[in-house]
Subunit: 345 residues, 2 copies
Amino acid sequence: MKPVTNSSHPTIRDVARHAGVSPGTVSRVLNNSPLVKETTRQRVWEVIESLNYTPNLIARRLSLGKSLRIAVIVPFFTRPAEVERLRGVVNHLAHTQYDLVIHNIETPEQRATDLAQIPYREWVDGVLVISLPPEEEFLPRLKTAEVPIVFVDVHHPELRDFDLVNGDDVRGGYLAARHLIDLGHRRIGFIGDLPDHPLGFTSSRDRFEGFRNALAEANIPYDSNYHAESVHGQYLAQMLAEKMLTLPSPPTAIFAASDTQAMGVLTAARHLRIPVPEHLSIIGFDDIQVAEYLGLTTIRQNLYASGKAGVELLLERMIDPKIERRVVEIPNELIIRSTTFPPNS
Amino acid sequence: MKPVTNSSHPTIRDVARHAGVSPGTVSRVLNNSPLVKETTRQRVWEVIESLNYTPNLIARRLSLGKSLRIAVIVPFFTRPAEVERLRGVVNHLAHTQYDLVIHNIETPEQRATDLAQIPYREWVDGVLVISLPPEEEFLPRLKTAEVPIVFVDVHHPELRDFDLVNGDDVRGGYLAARHLIDLGHRRIGFIGDLPDHPLGFTSSRDRFEGFRNALAEANIPYDSNYHAESVHGQYLAQMLAEKMLTLPSPPTAIFAASDTQAMGVLTAARHLRIPVPEHLSIIGFDDIQVAEYLGLTTIRQNLYASGKAGVELLLERMIDPKIERRVVEIPNELIIRSTTFPPNS
DNA sequence: ATGAAAGCGCTAACAG
DNA sequence: CTGTTAGCGCTTTCAT
């Protein structure tokens, strides 16, 4: 064959020839084997540098039987929250010999093919799944996968055997509601995602659960008028909020399951000329970048840390698959800014 | 050797044995070679499926002498604008057999090592450089690189030989200033990045150039009081704006070289209780996602399209390195929202 | 301490 | 149409 090989690159054999040693020795030098005479090592290194030789990673991978790659499977990776997690992943991985392959998932079909095939077809050494609950039918395959898999920000009862990195959405929702209740609010609305998201996201549902817990604890009865859900998005949240705020007895505070949706609520208030926070308190979730600009009170998740923790767990497990299973919890934090205030009526 | 090979994977030889053919034939089947009998093809496919065989890409790469990977070198990839470009890249690449390796650059040192080494050490088949002007000393290496390199959003006089995808920042700046001038503004401020950015970004400078052109064309003299620069960032832009707006004769409009900086200007106006747009018009650049929420008038760059165009050029050149050099221009567009208005005085 | 040689899984030239 | 074979560049036993 005549491979379209990257042309003029010297190979390990060239180095060996120039240094008057065997390829094996050069390999040993490259891998810092202790069993090579100091003078030889020197000579080899000199040749390596004069030839500007760099090992071919692909050959190395094949020979080692390792791909030196990890895959990250992430939905809508341009969303602010996912990007921040990814940054944690990318930056941490930059110090290692591992490559990152990003699989962006935007439909259930994509998830199906990627989750099912990646561990096999792509020959990766590890997989990081972010924010993406697996479908039931793939669970068995995942459990018997030959490569380690770590889940970040996915809550699923069947993941008891995997390393996990999670924020506590239930607790986050509780913190948000608690804050409003402590301020004196009793009529509190919730705006979140539909519970049956095609990709099965659970965060909105869990945040709502925490929210309800806090209300129950404060003996505030659940009122379905104060509960609205739609497909994720700022504009739809705005519609829901406008409806809720024109109720005969509107809420004095609204908890949005994400900052994006909180922005929709802010717009609704502006349209209806309801002063925030004087007549309406608003709290979001995530603490995405604009939240600070908007002065939005919110629940912060340390997204960068969660991405970083995910790779760390994965790399450790790749080194030793038998270590005990770990669950890392990334704590949420209430960030009080200027959209929450005691109720006015 | 005893490679930690991905354990139980069948190889091409297993398939061959089970199908009673040679590995070569299996390879031909896999690669859709026309020179294989239909019945054989069928039989081989059956075995492939029953064995759940999938080819080892690493071996394939080594044998082909191609890495089937492309590298993208991008600064601060979490910035909204870069993310959007990346999405164009990732989504377009998902349909191909190529992997993406992301190199996030945040310092000149990182750029130096990555730009210099990637084409060699990493064995990639192509490189996409986003928003990152090369340092002079690396230009020769880039020009003689063995792999195709495409630059997206980098303006540099020495890039005459490369495929390029660019927005026209000068024209964008012109459009922005022109819009303000057409509204009747004469005292127009500019807030942008420092011209000597360590990574050599040129966009702010070019936008300013277009801005000045428009002013000159309208016979508005340049006033250095209305010109302020600092390190990129919302808060610093806010400081500059506050200073500019408390001048004895403050500008009636401000052009910020990015939406992020425009947000700083908005904050400054709010602090100083200057009504926008009645007493102060503000126009930004980029049309990042929040711009719409804020009602910010801005210059839109079609970022997704630029990322996509970048990979397309790259893939085409990888197929045929001898095609004529191309320059794709992604047009800017003035998006008028509610932060610009005729001057009030 | 070093060389020789086999092998990772695949492709492609060559022969038939 | 198909089998055989060499080889991609590297690592790692096994000898010496």
